[in-house]
Amino acid sequence: MVSHSQHPAEIDDDALLVLRVGEGDVAAYRALVERYAAKLSRFAERLLRDGTEAEDVVQETFLRLWQRASEYQPKARVTTWLHRITHNLAVDRLRARGRTLPLPEEEEMPVSARQPTLLDEKRRVVALEAALAALPERQATAIVLVHLHGLTGAEAAEVLGVGMEAVESLLARGRRALKSELTGLVKAEGGAA
């Protein structure tokens, strides 16, 4: 299951771990790998849509954590700092590929056109994952940051390099598209019954 929010104690613990990494503490570094590898992998894969490149980006993120932990400023939460590094590295890769991040205004493809009708709750979750993958990149990124990784709106805005209003707009449009997809499934289930 996804852990939705970070406890203040956990936040402090993260910052302490980074400070210890800055002093060369390998155990602290490995604790942060355990804590963030999965989240950052999902985030990178969402941005790049390529598992191998996502792994490269996550590895580079942790390399930077190891090499530059002494530069960490506790002004930002560790999770925001790591997500921002991952985001910047992924965007660099997209640029190198000659692609840019799709704009928020990108036309949304109807997920139902690509997904078969799904009937049970487990498949509903699978459908939601598919719907999330089909969202325009920045909407999906905002949803992942806030709803799956527990960042605040302000932190997601910092990672994406936009203002609060823009983030709320991305979140709202993303959620609306997901809800629409799930509502469609419920209707389809009703029709099938």
Binding site: M1, V2, H4, S5, G22, E23, G24, V26, Y29, R30, V33, E34, A37, A38, K39, S41, R42, E45, E55, V58, Q59, F62, L63, W66, Q67, R68, A69, S70, E71, E121, R124, V125, L128, E129, I143, V146, H147, L148, G150, T152, G153, A154, V167, E168, S169, L171, A172, R175, R176, L178, K179, L182
Partner: protein, 161 residues
Amino acid sequence: MKTPLSLERFRALLAAYGARPELWPDTERAAALALRDASVEARALFDEEAGLDATLGALPEPYVSPDFLRRLKEVPLRAPQKRRWFALPGMWIPAVSWAFAAVLGLGLGFSTDALDTGEADGGSTVATVDSAAPSGEDAAATGEEDFFSALALDALDELEE
């Protein structure tokens, strides 16, 4: 006293952050919760959003292969840390030691100079220690006695005797 929240803004909060008050901005959370508890319409909107949040919460954690996790953990074995020289804790110890030694050396140097000066100048320096001290060789001798007395060396002399 908290500022009341409009239903329109409440709707916008739900649209962006869902029915999860912990995600709502800190500055608006209390007012939004008050509105939810006071308004039937707000409560209905809240409940309507909760379905999507439940499904989002049921998404599994992404899979990370053990091999990839191992490679991540081995990063410190392959890459040296880039650290600012002044951030290195080990750098401070010799620096502070040298500084302490330098200060001590200067201090002792000045003390010895003071004795030498006292001998040469006829006790002007020593006079500050003991204004009744005579000038000349006696003064220098008295000054030396005071200096070694301060170092408790005379106590050692007594022990030797």
